[in-house]
């Protein structure tokens, strides 16, 4: 079984070569190295999948170290779940590496960029395949570190560096929960193997299982940008766009939900933890969908949409449907990287302008290919049948619907409402960016050409996004339910009851089509063109302002005002002041504690001596009390 190991090690080798020798290599060679190792990793993943016989096994590579009875090791867990995930990660990464070559063609720091990117792929594959929780933690920290480095990649802007640090620290807060859970596992089971943990979870006290489940959930929330640790992801859009596609859409943010999938056999023993996962997922899905509705920056729309979609995965998992959750994870990886890469093309064409209200119909005429790809991506995201998202999201909604309990039913309602919002914001993006009429000085005069290589990378993803539903079609046909069959042997996978499936699917289809129509009504070109020429009203800047979100708000007032208000409130107040405030509040608390502790060090030598006297008195008091 060398193929899985190669999947893991090829990117690492690439990163090492680039780190050590990258400076001295010609640009072309460095690029080839970076892309080739990831491609090799993909080929190895294909080989591993081809050689997979349905039998789950653990591949022990090496021991790391041992403490007491505990010996963390470099060991891999190879089953359908991990191999499919590895295949997806390496495939999407390979495409994005190709894309990056074109996207970064003018950037001087490309060696650093590709080095981090390769290192990232290695870390992500570690998360995917590791069987040992300590080994997994290596990948877990690794993706966090690479994310920090890549978000702050364009470091000339201090805000980018700050965003990188914010991401790292918020995900690190989640890591505290991971480490605490690890410590608990170490003390109660004396093993750090995932397989062992899942197998022996029944021996743990129920409260312990719930506690572990909640701790891992918190850790996953950090990595996957779920409530309440989600505020880092929109800021993470400071990274170069391919990085956003790879890290903040397709792979790293799904690491959290993937970890929970791996732990599903253990967590499913605790209904409370499962419900918590589902609830966090549904709430985040709704919350983020609202926020996405109010954005102007194309990447921020997509960022919030990622948060929302990962929320669906949590919901599916919490509802007990691992297959559906994983199905959505795969399809989401395809259409979200498609959307991000498309957004990268749009941004390139617009000379690095991110505002969708400054793009408009000329962009559609300038780059019809990008337009087509974005429409396909939006269909998949919005769940318009028969695109991939329709099946995967439908499956999750169905799982939530069939789950027992009133709470899950309520969550289903919430998630269905979020589905409507999803299709609204997806097509708002398309209609505004490709049909709008930006007035005044909205962006550059002439659009820039989009490199062919970048465009070429869109089509495989578009195909996958549209046809992704084929992975797990509903119904009784021989070709349907492939993913379910494949995953059948994975622990934690349960089958869904069949009744009412058609009804729920029909509802989903109805919602998405209705949403599509509503979006056309709200942001469609007809309406936009109806509006009086803004240039006549006011100076140009003001005109832009009007045709920008003021117009937006006017049209919304008719139908979608409540949504808009809610979205703005959620985005500005809850997120901006509430959640950000919460995170910042903790940071401020630490900062104030930090400053007051520093104030002790007055620079006076007598301060140290005073502490001697105080400490001596205290220790003597303790001793005299203990001795008495």
């Amino acid at each position: 079984m060398t193929a899985p190991v190669l999947t893991l090690l090829c990117p690492l080798a690439g990163a090492a070569v680039l780190a050590l020798a990258g400076r001295h290599l010609p640009r072309r060679v460095a690029e080839v190295v970076a892309v080739a190792v990831v491609l090799a990793g993909f080929v190895a993943a294909c080989a591993a999948w081809a050689g997979f016989d349905g039998q789950s096994r653990i591949l022990h590579l090496a021991s790391w170290f041992s403490v007491g009875h505990l010996a963390p090791s470099f060991s891999l867990k190879l089953d359908a779940l991990s191999l499919l995930m590895a295949l997806m990660v390496s495939g999407v990464s390979a495409l994005i590496h190709f894309y990056s070559v074109a996207y970064m063609r003018r950037d001087q720091g490309f060696v650093r960029y590709f080095c981090y990117l390769n290192l990232f792929v290695f870390s992500m594959q570690t998360i995917v395949m590791a069987d040992d929780l300590v080994f997994l933690f290596l990948g877990w920290e690794g993706v966090g570190f690479c994310s920090f480095a890549l978000i702050g990649f364009w470091s000339e802007d201090a805000a980018n560096v700050a965003a990188g640090r914010k991401a790292f620290i918020l995900t690190r807060i989640g890591d505290v929960a991971y480490l605490v859970a690890l410590a608990l596992i170490v003390t109660s089971l004396a093993s750090t193997s995932l397989t062992e943990l899942n197998a022996r979870a029944g021996l743990l006290a129920p409260d312990m299982v719930t506690l572990l489940g909640l701790l891992f959930l918190f850790a996953a929330c950090g990595k996957s940008a779920q409530l309440p640790l989600l505020v880092w992801l929109p800021d993470a859009m400071a990274a170069p766009t391919p990085v956003s596609a790879l890290i903040h859409a397709a792979t790293m943010v799904t690491a959290g939900v993937y970890l929970l999938m791996r732990l599903a056999p253990m967590i499913s023993l605790s209904p409370a933890a499962m419900l918590a996962i589902a609830a966090i997922g549904a709430l985040t899905a709704f919350f983020a969908a609202c926020a996405a509705l109010a954005q102007h920056d194309v990447k921020r729309v997509l960022a919030w949409s990622t948060v929302s979609q990962v929320g669906y995965m949590f919901l599916g998992l919490g509802a007990g449907d691992l297959t559906g959750s994983f199905f959505h994870l795969l399809v989401h990886a395809f259409f979200k990287s498609l959307l991000f890469l498309g957004a990268g093309c749009m941004i390139t064409a617009m000379h690095d302008d991110h505002d969708i209200f400054r793009m408009g119909a000329r962009l559609r005429r300038h780059a019809p290919g990008v337009f087509a790809a974005m429409v396909m991506g939006a269909c998949a995201l919005g769940g318009v049948p028969p695109a991939g998202g329709f099946f995967s999201k439908g499956r999750i909604l169905f799982a939530a619907f069939t789950a027992p309990g009133l709470a899950e039913r309520l969550l289903w309602v919430l998630a269905t409402a979020a589905a409507l919002l999803t299709v609204l914001y997806a097509f708002r993006l398309v209609f505004v960016a490709f049909f709008g009429q930006p007035a005044g000085q909205g962006g550059p005069e002439a659009l820039a050409p989009v490199p062919k290589l970048m465009l070429a990378m869109l089509w495989p993803l578009a195909l996958l996004a549209l046809a992704g539903g084929a992975l797990n079609l509903p119904g009784e046909a021989p070709w349907s339910g492939w993913l379910g069959h494949v995953l059948a042997g994975v622990p934690g996978v349960a089958a869904l009851p069949e009744d009412n499936e058609a009804l729920v699917s029909a509802l989903d289809a109805l919602i998405s089509l209705a949403g599509l129509l509503l979006a056309w009504r709200l942001w469609g070109p007809k309406n936009l063109m109806d509006w009086r020429r803004p240039a006549a009203l006011a100076p140009r800047v003001h005109a832009f302002f009007l045709s920008g979100w003021k117009l937006d708000a006017l049209y919304l007032a008719a139908v979608a005002r409540p949504y808009q208000a809610l979205a703005l409130w959620l985005w500005r107040d809850v997120d901006g002041r509430g959640l950000d405030g919460l995170a910042l509040g903790a940071a401020n608390l630490a900062g104030n504690a930090s400053r007051s502790l520093r104030r002790l060090a007055t620079g006076r030598v007598t301060a140290t001596l005073v502490m001697f006297a105080l400490g001596l008195a205290l220790i003597l008091l303790i001793f005299s009390v203990r001795a008495a």
């Binding site: 630490a590 930090s594 220790i619 001795a627």
Partner: protein, 470 residues
């Protein structure tokens, strides 16, 4: 084997120190290479003998102990001294500080540290500690033309002298309680009798803890640390932060090992408080710190907190975590302070965060070692710091101190933010003044390579070392 062999490493260091002084007296300006080479030779010879000596009980009229733990710590001390000298030699000669005093005092200080690490008797304990402390006072003031260097020495000296007074009075009280100056038997006599009759001894232990706490910069006795580290020349700070800490720590370890169970019961809550306070007082102030040397000082305070955690777990979990973490600590702090010294311009040590901007690009190698050390201090996987923290946390949780482990994890997360700021400056900052600082020179490259490689290597394959320690 005769007892006298156990004095051989110390005797070699004596000879080395005297030779360095003599060389300075005979040749007015000895070549820096000669001084450095000679000092390294003596250190290596001492190390070879330490390595070769078989473990034994107390030797030389029960003055010195020499077991596996002592051997390990003595090797650590010698290594720290050697690496500090490698980092220091060019740093010092560029600044006109590389006189015979530097080499002689480092060798004498190492001698004191070896004595302290191996002390089996309170007299040797006190005198060894005094010997290296006295050397460090002068070494910190090495840059005596600079006011800050002198002030740092003063800020180490004043509390240091008071702490020495406390320590000696503590020893006097223990002697008063038991009539013995032998480290093990004076403490063990509490087990036979009741704790009550050991009353003066407990008071003495409190004073000794104070003295030791000062040297290790445990909170609340740590306030000197940021000032002294900031003012001391960077390679001296490296030696101060590693060698002296490890030596004191080794002695503390022997002290804890010699304590009978009921005395340990009395002491454990104090250790609990000290380690919690140290973890917080080290990690939190780092968060808003903008001076890197002070940040490293706070960080080394926090590291002492982790070492204290390991010590709390020592009676339950054995010596492996303590020793491994001590080794990790030595390498991380040597790497951090040493590379900081190499990055600094001649006009004074780099300190303000802005000064580090862009050095990752202009001075890749020292910056890389600094970065690796910081990542290791932050406890990122594949570095020694991670394995060390992991091993310590496991031991601490097993020993029944989950709250302390929680505080430790929290501290690690908080401090990570601080280290990240430095990393950000190194690699994301725009270089402010290009070409500052001098090329490190071959000796420093050797030290850089050794430290960096060991931190990473022992982070990936810590197994052999951990196995050795067990």
């Amino acid at each position: 084997m005769s007892d006298w062999f156990y004095l051989l490493p110390q005797a070699i260091l004596c000879a080395g120190g005297l030779a360095a002084l003599g060389l300075g007296a005979v040749l007015l300006r000895p070549a820096p290479g000669l001084q450095l080479g000679g000092a390294l030779l003596f250190l290596a010879a001492a190390g070879a003998i330490v390595l070769a000596l078989p473990a034994a009980g107390p030797v030389l009229d029960d003055m010195l102990a020499f077991d596996g733990i002592v051997r390990f710590y003595q090797l650590l001390i010698l290594g720290s001294a050697g690496l500090s000298l490698l980092f220091a030699s060019r740093y010092a000669s560029l600044r006109g500080l590389a006189g015979d005093e530097l080499y002689a005092l480092v060798l004498f200080a190492t001698l004191g540290m070896l004595l302290l690490a191996g002390a089996a008797n309170w007299v040797i304990f006190v005198l060894g500690l005094e010997l290296f402390t006295l050397c460090l006072y002068v070494l910190i003031a090495l840059d005596r033309g600079r006011r800050t260097s002198l002030e740092a020495a003063l800020k180490y000296f004043v509390p240091g002298a008071a702490a020495a007074g406390c320590l000696i009075f503590g020893v006097a009280l223990i002697y008063a309680a038991t009539g013995s100056l032998d480290l093990a038997s004076s403490l063990a006599s509490t087990a036979a009798g009741d704790v009550a009759s050991f009353g003066p001894g407990l008071a003495g232990l409190a004073l000794i803890l104070l003295g030791v706490g000062f040297k290790l910069a445990l909170a609340p006795f740590h306030l000197w640390a940021p000032d002294v580290y900031q003012g001391a020349p960077a390679p001296v700070a490296a030696f101060l932060a590693t060698g002296s800490k490890v030596a004191v720590y080794a002695a503390l370890l022997r002290l804890v090992a010699a304590l009978p169970a009921d005395a340990w019961q009395a002491l454990a809550p104090v250790f609990w408080l000290l380690s919690a306070a140290t973890l917080l007082a080290g990690s939190l102030p780092a968060l808003t710190q903008t001076r890197v040397k002070r940040l490293l000082a706070y960080s080394s305070v926090a590291q002492m907190g982790y070492l204290l955690l390991a010590l709390l777990a020592y009676p339950a979990a054995g010596p492996a975590p303590v020793m491994f973490y001590a080794a990790a600590y030595v390498l991380m702090d040597l790497g951090a302070f040493g590379s900081l010294g190499l990055l600094s311009p001649v006009s004074g040590d780099l300190d303000a965060l802005e000064g580090f901007a862009g050095l990752g690009r202009t001075r890749p190698w020292p910056a890389a070692v600094l970065a690796v050390s910081l990542l290791s201090l932050a406890g990122l996987p594949l570095t020694m710091g991670f394995v060390g923290k992991f091993v310590v946390f496991v031991a601490v949780v097993r020993a029944g101190y989950p709250v302390l482990a929680g505080i430790g994890i929290l501290g690690a997360v908080v401090a990570a933010g601080a280290y990240l700021r430095v990393l950000g400056a190194l690699y994301f900052g725009r270089p402010v003044h290009a070409g500052q600082g001098q090329p490190p020179g071959p000796a420093a490259y050797v030290a850089l390579g050794l430290v960096g490689a060991l931190i990473v290597l022992l982070g990936i394959v810590p197994g052999p070392l951990l196995g050795l320690l067990r």
